[in-house]
């Protein structure tokens, strides 16, 4: 009957209860949606960096990360790549060779990043980025360039460009390559300055034979990087290696994310304070309205703590209804934006693309994150009940019943 009493008490003042439920619903909805979108954006930022430039883990020759010279490359063979691919959670190992070159046509010139990769296995999805031309094959002797570079040099498919740079151990690297494809990159740094070519052609151009700058490793679960790293370090390579994970390779991105995450949490914190006062106001009104009734119940023999437990049951029911409804309203939106992210408006796209972020509203489905915020709001609703607890515990029945 206590539960029945609590439930019926909730509906004694429908408007007040609905306002309280509405406040909790709004807080849960807003917190879940905002944090899911925020974490979604971070995930896209990391994915953007990881998929194009770093991978989840990289294996390099020892010292390469701080001295990215072509002389500091690592000799590899197919066996080591197979061994890496056989480690649990590794979805692919992608050898790459990176360098810089002076790119020129008849009239123009510009410095560029050169990435030699195996188009059949690499994490970069050339098919998705292709604007015109064809995706190169691993044995081709062609290059693919970013849209920005194509525009700058006014180059099209079949045109040639001259690449001049420094090869292994000071050798001159110079060659002319036809353009096989033009690629779209959101990040202007890549769009304007990147030349992608098959790794064999790049090794030949740089005279490095079987040497690579890095082996990028993509994992099936980003969280497994700590587990995979030591296994990679245990393998026997031809030379000493460093194994770096993405947190070591893009710390500035992760720090920016962390700073932004704190800002988001502070914003949610302010929302929680506002909601707390809203709930507190309704609980305070309820306590004042029911003071007389509390006096009667204590008079006829109800223990104060039992009386508090009845009011707490009411608050638990209200908070549960609000939290569950907030979740039910927020989840479909989060689910939709997770499975089918909504693209930004045209005018918003450039700003995000310039940061290398996929220009779409994407939300993560993180049940832990959702549970955390639902629990915080539920706890706030419970904490506010300290007020009726204090009032009931200090209530004098005769004074409470004095009208």
């Amino acid at each position: 009957m206590y539960l029945k009493l609590a439930w019926r008490n909730i509906w004694r003042n429908k408007r007040r209860s609905l306002i309280t439920i509405g406040s909790i619903l709004f807080a849960v909805f807003f917190a879940l949606v905002m944090r899911s979108f925020q974490e979604g954006m971070y995930e896209m930022m990391i994915d953007g960096m990881v998929s194009v430039s770093t991978g989840h883990i990289q294996v390099h020759r020892e010292g390469y990360w701080n001295d990215r010279s072509i002389d500091n490359t690592l000799p590899i063979d197919d066996k080591i790549v197979s061994k890496i691919n056989s480690i649990e959670h590794v979805s692919r190992a992608c050898p790459r060779i990176d360098s810089y070159a002076w790119i020129s046509t008849e009239e123009l010139g510009r410095g560029a990043m050169i990435i030699g990769l195996d188009p059949e296995v690499d994490v970069i999805n050339l098919e998705d980025k292709l604007v015109s031309g064809e995706v190169m094959n691993k044995d081709d002797n062609v290059v693919m360039i970013g849209e920005g570079m194509a525009e700058y040099f006014e180059l099209g498919i079949g045109d040639t460009l001259v690449m001049l740079g420094q090869g292994y151990h000071g050798q001159t690297a110079a060659a002319v390559y036809p353009i096989g494809g033009i690629l779209h990159f959101g990040n202007p740094k890549f769009s304007n300055n990147l030349v992608v070519m098959p790794i064999k052609a790049a090794q030949q151009y740089l005279s490095t034979e079987n040497r690579v700058s890095s082996i990028l490793i993509e994992l099936d679960d980003i969280a497994a990087y700590l587990e995979v790293k030591p296994k990679l370090a245990e393998l026997s390579y031809q030379e000493s290696v460093d194994v770096l994970d993405y947190t070591e390779m893009i710390p500035e991105v992760l720090e920016a994310i962390q700073a932004d995450r704190i800002g988001g949490k502070m914003f949610i914190g302010i929302l929680y304070v506002i909601i707390s006062f809203g709930i507190f106001g309704t609980i305070m009104m309820m306590t004042a309205e029911r003071r007389y009734e509390y006096g009667v119940l204590v008079s006829i023999g109800m223990h104060r703590f039992k009386l508090f437990m009845i009011t707490l049951r009411e608050s638990i029911l209200i908070a549960l209804v609000g939290v569950i409804m907030g979740f039910l309203v927020a989840f479909p939106l989060i689910y939709k934006m997770n499975t089918d992210p909504m693209p930004f408006r045209e005018d918003q796209m450039d700003a995000f693309q310039s940061f290398g972020i996929e220009p779409a509203y994407y939300a993560v489905i993180d049940l832990g994150l959702m549970a955390e915020h639902m629990m915080i709001i539920f706890c706030i609703a419970m904490l506010v009940n300290l007020y009726p607890l204090v009032k009931i515990m200090t209530l004098h029945p005769v004074e409470a019943m004095r009208k």
């Binding site: 009957m1 206590y2 029945k4 009493l5 019926r8 008490n9 509906w11 004694r12 007389y292 009734e293 009667v296 119940l297 204590v298 008079s299 006829i300 023999g301 109800m302 223990h303 104060r304 039992k306 029945p397 005769v398 019943m401």
Partner: protein, 229 residues
């Protein structure tokens, strides 16, 4: 042995620096089965006396003994328990729980006593029948008249099997006919089941039905008379 015994009760309220003497050495004994009215003008100390006898308020001086228990020495929790098991209350404003039906209101006090469900059911129905509300059991207070609500309050007061019932101005909010009807019910319960009733009132109808009338003035008992009804 008296069911209630007060000795030299004094109650002084302090309002800032002003002291108000609500009771001035009230000594009173009430036997089991009495139907007693405590009367007097407003401010004479009737309600204060009832509150102290009911363990709702503490005397400044003096002692209240219910049966063989000196309730002046009980802690707050002990007093709540004592009230639950020994005293029935009927208030001027009925004070039923608005979201519970008549039967649930009566059962509620037994629920607090942890009585078995079957007993609660049976006793609530019997008590509501005794106060003439067998056909109103499932109505909520707002669906009932003032008289019906006060009859539910009487049934609720009796549900805990108390040693006595304290009724503070029980007819004050009722019309004459309803008040008489309620008094009939309480008088019958008193006569047939020996339930002790103590009223504070200035309603002449209650005074006429009471077998003992204690008159208070300025916190002092000025007369204590028995009458034939």
């Amino acid at each position: 042995m008296p069911i209630i015994k007060t000795q030299n009760l004094t109650k002084i309220y302090k309002d800032h620096s002003v002291e108000v003497h609500a009771l001035n050495g009230v000594s009173l004994e009430i036997e089991k089965g009495e139907f007693t009215a405590i009367v007097g003008p407003s401010g004479s100390g009737k309600t204060t006396l009832l509150n102290i006898i009911g363990g709702l308020d503490n005397p400044t001086e003096g002692q209240v003994t219910i049966g063989d228990v000196d309730i002046s020495n009980l802690s707050d929790n002990q007093l709540i328990d004592f009230r639950l098991h020994n005293i029935g209350f009927v208030f001027q404003a009925y004070n039923l729980i608005p979201v519970l039906s008549a039967k649930e209101n009566v059962e509620f006090i037994m629920l607090m006593q942890n009585r078995p469900k079957a007993e609660m059911d049976e006793r609530a129905e019997a008590l509501l029948k005794a106060v003439g509300l067998e056909d109103q059991m499932h109505k909520r207070p707002r669906e009932m008249s003032g008289g019906q609500q006060q009859r539910v309050a009487v049934a609720r007061a009796l549900a805990s099997k108390p040693k006595f019932v304290l009724a503070d101005e029980p007819t004050a909010n009722l019309d004459s006919k309803t008040a008489l009807n309620l008094l009939d019910i309480m008088a019958t319960l008193n006569k047939e089941e020996g339930i002790t009733f103590i009223f504070s009132t200035h309603d002449q109808k209650v005074i006429d039905r009471a077998r003992r009338i204690v008159t208070l003035e300025d916190g002092v008992i000025v007369s204590d008379v028995q009458q034939d009804v």
